[in-house]
Symmetry: C2
Subunit: 114 residues, 2 copies
């Protein structure tokens, strides 16, 4: 099956995970129809916004940075990320991501369950 870009659903989440401002998610699949996939989305964080700190139990989330730069709290360790970097969070670990830059931060977010 091919989901064309124009057919994808866009969702704006305010204060996502108690973060700052609005995150825009373009859902690449209808996750309810997929097996072991809870989220597969392109996320955009405008400058000054964030997704708040949260953890993942019985699932792993992957952030793959597409453009812009972000500051990640990687289970307690602040790490700057940029295009091509990958954030892996599972096994109960926590993360958050914030756009401290001047251009949008865009990344793919995949949550795989088990």
């Amino acid at each position: 099956m091919v989901n064309s870009r124009s057919s994808l659903k866009t969702e704006v989440r305010e204060k996502m995970r108690d973060g700052v401002g609005s995150a825009t998610l373009v859902h690449l699949v209808d996750a309810e129809k997929e097996k072991n996939v809870k989220l597969l989305a392109e996320v955009t964080l405008p400058p000054g916004t964030s997704i708040g700190r949260h953890n993942h139990e019985n699932e792993t989330e992957y952030y793959i940075i597409l453009s812009g730069a972000g500051l990640v709290d990687d289970d307690g360790k602040d790490t700057e990320v940029k295009q091509g970097d990958v954030v892996i969070t599972g096994g109960g670990a926590f993360h958050s991501i914030a756009n401290k830059g001047s251009v949008p931060l865009v990344f793919h977010a995949f949550i795989v369950t088990y």
Copy 2:
């Protein structure tokens, strides 16, 4: 955990799945260490190359087109894909992807097992 782009392993596969030419895979994670993930890679197909027709049983593969354009055999239906389009193949269905254009075709390939 953060995998910086510079730490990622690059693999060149010749005639991948009996396709044409060389596909370059940048492995975004070490899939052997992940649960229910068989592949999470950025794939580049130069002009004139392809990944041959193959199917997926007990797993789903997602192609998310990042740049360039491709021709996908989506279980028997030829479909042109471009930036932002998503190819979903599982449940025994077949697919292939070819770069018929003049610029590299780059996409994320993500295989979830179940």
